[in-house]
Structure formats: C-alpha cells, structure tokens
Amino acid sequence: MLLYEFKLAFKSLRKNPILSSLMIGAIALGIGVCMITVTMFYLMSGDPIPHKSDRLFAVQIDSWSKERPYTGSTNEMPFQLTWPDSTALMNRAPDFPQTAMFKSSMIIEQLQQGSELRREIVRITGRDFFSMFDLEFIYGTSWTEEMEQQAQQVVVLSETVNNELFNGQDSVGESIRVDDREYRVVGVVKDWNPVPNFYDLNNGSIEDPEAMYLPISLSEPLAMTTAGNTNCWKPSTGSGPQAVYQSECVWTQYWVELKNADEVAEYRNFLEGYYAEQQQLGRFERPQKVAVSNVREWLNINQVVENDNRVLVGLAFMFLSVCVFNTVGLMLTKFLGRSKETSIRRALGATRMTILRQHLVEVSSIGFVGGILGLFLTWAGLSVIKFATDIPEQLLHLDLQLMALALILALLATLAAGLYPSWHIGRISPARYLRT
C-alpha cells in the first residue's frame, strides 16, 4: 500500500508542477537558511580537539590594574599573560607539558638567489606545543631542549609552505631566511587549522593556518614582535620591541596539558603561590585570581559562540516557520483541489486514516525533495560565504550528521505543514462531492 501511495504522491506532484515547486521551494529555502546558520553554529560550537579538550588548559592570571578589573572577558581576567609571567611559568611551573606562545608576522624567503619574499603568519611557541596540540609531523620532529638552550635558529614548517618552498620534499636540514635571519628546518607538520582556533582567539575564532613555528626561546633575544593583540593597563617604560617584553602588557597565550583533577589542583596551587609571591613583591595589586580552563570552558569564556549567533539561529528557525506556514496554505489549496477524488476514494472504501496516510506520504515526498534541494542551497550558500569571506574550507564541510539533520528537519517541517491539510481532507464527507 505504501508503494501505491508513493505512486499517487508522484502523480500528484507531477500533475501540478507549479504548486509542487512552490511548496518544495518554500521548504528548501527554509531548510537552506536554517542549515547555513546551524552549520556555522555547529562548527563554531563544536569541540575543536575532542580527544583531549578536557586535558588542555588555558592559563589566566589577573595581573591587571588595582584601579579596575579587566573588562574584556567574562571572568574579568586578561585572556593573555605578560611576558614576565609567561617566562616565569615556563621556568618554574610543575613539570607538565606546557607552553607560552604568540603570533607573529614575518618575511620568509628561500636562501636561493632571486627567491620571492613573502609575509606569513608565524607561531612562536615552545617545543611541547606540537605534542600538546597533536600536530602531525610529515618530516622530522620538533626542536629539542638542547637546541633551545643553545639558541639554535630552527624552524618547523607547515606542509603548505614546505610544498611551496621545497616542492613537498623532505626539507629537514635545509635552511630558509626569516626576517633576514637564517633558520634550519627541523620538521614539517601537516597544516593545522582547528575551527575555532581555540589556542589563540585574540583575533577571532577563524584564521588562516600558520606558515611555520619558531622557538619561543629565541623571541626575546631576537626581539620578535607580536602580530596579535596587546593589552596594557599602564604604559611601557622605554621604547622599541624590548620594552614590550618588560612591560605589564598582556600578549602571550599560555597552555598546559594536565591529565587529571590532581594535576589541575597541583597546577592551580602553583599559580596561587606564584600570585601570592608577586603580590608580596608588590607587582600584583588585585585580589588573588588565577584560572585554568579546559578547551570547552575557554571557548565559553571567550564567547566563541556569541549570543548573536544563537539569535541568528533562532531567526533562521523563525524563517523556516514562515516557510512552513506558507506551505500549509499551499497544501491546503492543493489538497482541497482534489476533494472530489477524495470523496470518490472514500466511497470506494478508503478510511479517514487511509486518506490521511496517503496525503502524509505526499507531504513526506515534498519534504524529502525539499530537504535535498535545501541541502543544495546550503552548499551554495556556504560557497557564497566562502567566496565573500576568508572563512576556511572546513566551515563549508557538511558532514553526514548535518545532512541527516537537514533531511529530518525538512521531513518534520513538511509533516508539520501537511498535518492539518491532510487531516482536513480526510474529514471530508464521502457524499459531499460525488454529485458535482
């Protein structure tokens, strides 16, 4: 019987293509708009490193002015640390994998004559960075502690840069010039660009992948400058890049990997001790406040999924509701247009439930086709967004879960739209239209 009902649904859709197209179009448009916003929301609110997001912790220390709290974050603590605090933590904190880091912008060139100069975003970080965040090495490894101590100028390249500079060959041992200094390649990692880029949210949650990684141990001696945000509550003394290193400005991110609650407690104790020490030294003037936040907590503190996004999703669903209401009217028109046929079927033995089911099958078919078309619109919409912005490819990825959600949403929306018209047509008295 179900096959028969699908056959009738197909006939019905073909019989009035304009009305059918309007219904399918309305559903597809609603689904498309919904899915574009849901996709963005889903990706922004997703866990960027699900297998260890509960073990990676961002460190915050309230080094701000005693006059007023830091107002830029939800927990009234700066998102970043000062350079003195970062170096103190790297030197003195309990022996867990951890690193300070910051983003810089540098000019890169190959050593060969005539090589093209290019400015790239570079991450200055510690050697633990690669294992903590699970970057995958294609060639070589991270730099070693010994290299850091010897201030060796070494670099880990991203796959893209390695492809461009060395045609994708193993470049370990080769040298490149970065900001007019020669660096030796010790490793090549696959491009790493989590969305959202939780480890450094200072310039937004979506950024292009970084071109290479340099040891943070070189940053102060070589006076590397940050290309990220720098926030200060009092002016730096002195001038030039070195002044920033000595200042109370916050501009470095700090992450630590802690395996369990005991390690978290131990690290927090250390931070509290460090805070108390700095208070005694007269440096920190605010009530003691430190925080270690795992990735989920960190995304919340940074309001990566902003209320605006939630409102947008709400508006998209309201738009879908409008489409559904329009579809109710169209379906009612379509179904009432065949009242006589329904009366005939009722006279010939169809029950109200049979008529209801027949129409719900048709409604589901509209929903299915609308859902498929909606997915296409979603893809097209995301492509337009990609074209118009610099949002990376990952955001355009519609995974199976989202596709299934789109189809289920389309079916539910059309069933909601079709329930009343189907029920209404099923209530028609069998005798009503038989004489006309």
């Binding site: 005939i344 029950t351 005798a431 038989l434 004489r435």
Partner: protein, 234 residues
C-alpha cells in the same frame, strides 16, 4: 438485504432545518432490482447516500445484510462500503489522472488484495463491460457511455452484494442509456441486488420494483403494478 426503519435525516444550518428524510421505511430483499423515483428534492439521493453508508442519518435504524450499521465507526463503514456495496454515479466519478485499469483497481487496493487477485478481477470486470482493450486509456479519452461502463466495472470488480446506482444514465444519450440498462439487468440476473435512482419512467419500469419517494417518505410501493407490467411486457 436492506431494511430502513423510521430513518430521518435533517440538514441544519443556523437559520433553517431541512428534513430530507422523515420516518423513512423501506425493506429491500436480496436479489431485487429496485428503482427509486420521485421529484427533485424528494430525498432520493439522501436515501441512496444513507443506503451506501456515504452519509449519516439523524434517527432510526438501518440494517444492512443483517448488520445494524447505526453505530458503526468510520473504519467499519468504510469496510462495508468496500466489500459489500458498489456505486455507480450519474457523473461517473472516475479519477481523471488514473487510467481505466487503475480506476477499477482503486476499491481493490483498499481491500488489500494481492496483485494477482487484483489483476484477475480487473480483467474480468473490464471484459464484462467490454472495455478490456481500453485498460490503458484515461477517462477523458472515452465517451460518456464508455466512462459509465468503466464505473460499472469498478463497482463489479469488488463483487458487491448491493449495487447502488444514482441516475446511471442521466448523462447519456438514449442508445448509451439502453446499453447501460442492459448491463445492469445482466448484473442483476447474476444475483446482485440493485437499487437505482432514476427520473426516467421507462428505466424505472424495467426494475422488478419501484419505490416512489415524496417529501422524504416512501409514498408508494407499486410492486404489484410493476410485476404486472413486467409480465405484460414479457
């Protein structure tokens, strides 16, 4: 086969109350061919709709094939319509988007018959009405008489015990009307009970019994005269 006792049907609007049938009593025995006549608005079609379980009645008792149908729910009424009753309408009431074969198949689908059963019944019914070769045609591609024969085939395919015909020749010319009437007589001769509403006195006389309805009541059952007329004709 059919017994209506004191059946009343009242149509109500906010302002008007119309008694389509009042204290309507009628008994039809199995195998009868009953013609129902009466002026327009007398209640013929209302009677036929109630007889065919297409419409409810306000008061009274209706027993069909030994079963009191007064309190049946929609599913049970639909089942009885599907299994026991065949309908033939003045305006044929074929589904325009379905071909002849599929039109005849509709009641069989709702009975849940197997594909093989359906095929056999459709072929047989279309053969009886002489339209087996037109199975793939759409209703619009047939003449009025042919469409009415399809409607009869659709009614016959379900092998009903009661055939209800509402002005079956009303939209046909005299030659077509005669063919349809002969078909109905043939069906009746095979034992099917037929109740036919008609305005045509000549067709009415060809039934085994005539019921005249006036103002929603059976005003006259001239069975005796009818039988005499039939004998005289023979």
């Amino acid at each position: 086969m059919l017994a209506m006792n004191n059946i009343s049907k009242v149509f109500r609007t906010d302002l008007v109350e119309t008694h389509a049938l009042r204290d309507f009593n009628l008994q039809v025995n199995e195998g009868e061919f009953v013609s129902v006549t009466g002026p327009s608005g007398s209640g013929k079609t209302t009677f036929l709709n109630i007889a065919g379980l297409l419409d409810d009645f306000s008061h009274g008792q209706y027993v069909l094939d030994g079963e009191d149908v007064s309190g049946l729910n929609d599913n049970e009424r639909s089942r009885i319509r599907n299994e026991k009753i065949g309908f033939i309408f003045q305006s044929f009431n074929l589904i325009p988007d379905l071909n002849i074969r599929d039109n005849v198949e509709v009641p069989l689908r709702y009975r849940g018959l197997s594909a093989n059963d359906r095929r056999q019944r459709i072929e047989k019914a279309l053969s009886i009405v002489g339209l087996a070769s037109r199975a793939k045609h759409l209703p619009a591609q047939l003449s009025g008489g042919q469409q009415q024969r399809v409607a009869i085939a659709r009614a016959l395919a379900g092998e009903p015990r009661l055939l209800l015909a509402d002005e079956p020749t009303g939209n046909l010319d005299s030659m077509m009307a005669r063919q349809i009437m002969e078909l109905l007589e043939s069906i009746h001769s095979n034992g099917t009970t037929i109740i036919m509403v008609t305005h045509d006195a000549e067709l009415s006389r060809r039934a085994t019994r005539n019921v005249h309805i006036m103002d929603g009541q059976v005003s006259e059952i001239n069975l005796h005269e009818q039988m005499q007329a039939n004998v005289a004709q023979a």
